[in-house]
Symmetry: C2
Subunit: 226 residues, 2 copies
Amino acid sequence: MGAELIDGRAFAARLRASVRDRVAEAAPRAGQAPGLAVVLVGHDPASEVYVRSKGKQALEAGMKSFEYRLPETTRAAELLDLIARLNDDAQVHGILVQLPLPAHLDPRAVINAIAPHKDVDGFHISNVGMVGTGQEAIVPCTPLGCMMMLRERHSDLRGRTALVIGHSNVVGKPMARLLLNADCTVMIAHKSSTNIPELARLADILVVAAGVPGLVRADWIKPGAR
Amino acid sequence: MGAELIDGRAFAARLRASVRDRVAEAAPRAGQAPGLAVVLVGHDPASEVYVRSKGKQALEAGMKSFEYRLPETTRAAELLDLIARLNDDAQVHGILVQLPLPAHLDPRAVINAIAPHKDVDGFHISNVGMVGTGQEAIVPCTPLGCMMMLRERHSDLRGRTALVIGHSNVVGKPMARLLLNADCTVMIAHKSSTNIPELARLADILVVAAGVPGLVRADWIKPGAR
């Protein structure tokens, strides 16, 4: 069997439709639509695009979207105060603080100020720790999406060998955690690794989260891998 | 170079002597010796041995040891109340709740009730999450000891390939996290894995945390591995 490339774009369209259906079904019962608060400090151009897209997708799914745009010079106390108010706001079910933050703000302190059950990025150390001990918790979106696509292909991931290339806190490490929780044999390689081709040839599942286009070469891929 | 077996017993004796020296040096400055509280619910025979040993080692290192032995029938509220008091007790710097707990007590709720900075087992989800995002935190003792022994042999672990066999929350998973934080290429195998010999032959570092004596065979070991 040849290796299979998964069409993420089509998968995303189906997923968005399914979220819309579930919101339409759940909102009347709950008496309100889910609300997503997105906080942007400063005006990093890529962040502007992400924030706009998150607000647009929330509305298209039938959710409420609350955008908070704060100046580059915002002090930590002001940002933490806003997060505390969003934590207490019954209309807000999810809070995203767009990263990167300006250099004078500590992203760890900010993220860990979010109530863990509203931390829809899954970056709070409580959520990381829960996933890291095999519990259900909110997990970062990119690895979660990869898991959804893999599960659509494989009814059972148990015992499959997975290689994750990249060990960021945003993609690589949470991806490895989710694959391990699914009982995969997991290999994690990164920029200090010297034997990635050798590892790739063992992999049934290959997840590249390294931000280097063309990093993986065709002859590294095991036949049948996804 | 042949593979090298590390003498853990000799290492432990040196480490205990060094802890004793550091306590003797730090306690007069702090105005008090460090205090370790160990909580045992019920009378699991293996747990009795561990608790006795922890108390003995604490005293030999010049620390105070506080042992709390509660009946098998202890209710969750009583145990959580004790933990709250130990969290507030200025004489107690570390709290160990011996696992396993009797079946009617939820170990996760109990462990996560310990103040993270007194969670000397490193099982609290905040400590797991901090290590899982590359931060300094309290980590479980077995993987920490393995890292200490590895670092004594290797000035730099970066880029070395490590295989961890076993994915428990107590040893395998935290071991993999520490190796990854040291920039190793990390492979995690476990009872669902089908290709452990193949992975072992790639490993510069092999950590077996599977509780199965004789699991690893000599011909799996890469020459020079530790």
